[in-house]
Amino acid sequence: MKRFVFVAALWAGLAFADIAPVPPPAPAPAAVHPEGIENVPTGVIQGGWGYVYACYIVAIGGTIFYALSLFARRPRGSPGKSGPQS
């Protein structure tokens, strides 16, 4: 029974992967852009360094922040292998 269910799950998973992507009509590209980017005829985005910096700040800042939070929560008292046996 267990095996049967497992096979059924596998089959269902394959069916999932097989869903034909019937595309909804592609959304029209945003007509108005706050920074006037739609005026660029080639469609190449120019500038936008602010966004790039913001992303890098999120990445580095987030990493440092998380490292600090791990440090703040570090186990104190007897360090090392104080966990119970499995």
Binding site: V32, Y51, A59, P75, S82, G83
Partner: protein, 256 residues
């Protein structure tokens, strides 16, 4: 950046991970090496991404976000996959280490995922013109994060450690189904988000860049999971001490 850099560093990182897993005595220093490698790697990535990398064909400079966006989302998925493997393992064989590792990898995965989605949202602004859009990739990634936030919330709202471990493992196995949905969402529904990058769609120089970046963040990921795992273990040990012996004749044998 040389073409072989990602591969060499990946081999190095994986070798260190294996050393860490295999040898208990190496555990004290391996994570420091990995942390150092990760930190240097991130500096390299920042320099490469901001100053050195070629401009992306359509997105120009904004495309530089790819070097941090992709590694973060991938690390999120790696974290959740480690988590579900631990969960399945725990249901087969109850082991506190697996439970601790599951908790650690879920939290680290949420951290990377949250940062990755934030970056994606920032990226969406100049490219799609909106911070957020009805896009399957965005929705499903956020949903996946919510599943794991729920997982951690549930863990903190349950008292009994044994039952908490089993229940959260069972629940998260059901929740993991959202990950393949996230992964394939770009293919199933032609979304705004570009498809998974592969060698045909991406310039080799960029590819080397984000692959190296991924390895650097993988090293950091490993360090984070390890440190978080130690926290979980120490919390467990305070809760799981066996009572003192009653009869001296009884041998102190423990199985959880």
């Amino acid at each position: 950046m040389p073409k072989w850099a990602p591969l060499i560093s990946l081999v190095l990182v994986i070798a260190l991970m294996i050393v860490h897993a295999a040898s208990a005595s190496a555990r004290a220093w391996v994570w420091k090496v990995l942390a150092g490698f990760g930190a240097i790697g991130v500096v390299v990535v920042v320099y490469f991404g901001l100053f050195f990398a070629p401009r992306e064909a359509y997105m120009s400079d904004v495309g530089r976000i790819i070097y941090v966006h992709i590694p973060f989302v991938w690390m999120c998925m790696v974290g959740f996959t480690v988590n579900v493997v631990c969960a399945v393992g725990y249901l087969f064989k109850a082991n506190w280490k697996l439970d601790a590792l599951a908790e650690a990898s879920a939290e680290v995965g949420i951290f990377f995922g949250a940062c990755g989605v934030t970056m994606g949202s920032i990226w969406a602004r100049p490219t799609w013109g909106v911070w957020w859009d009805w896009d399957p990739r965005l929705i499903s990634t956020t949903v996946m994060l919510l599943v794991y936030v729920g997982y951690l919330a549930f863990r903190s709202f349950t008292e009994d450690p044994d039952r908490r471990a089993a229940w959260s493992a069972a629940g998260v196995i059901l929740g993991y189904v959202t990950l393949p949905i996230t992964w394939f969402s770009v293919q199933w529904w032609n979304s705004l988000h570009q498809r998974q990058s592969d060698s045909q769609t991406v310039d080799p120089a960029m590819r080397v860049g984000y692959l190296f970046s991924t390895v650097a963040f993988l090293a950091l990921f490993f360090v984070f999971v390890f440190k978080r795992y130690e926290i979980s273990r120490s919390r467990q040990s305070s809760a799981l001490e066996l009572p003192p012996l009653q009869a001296p004749a009884v041998k102190p044998e423990v199985s959880a």
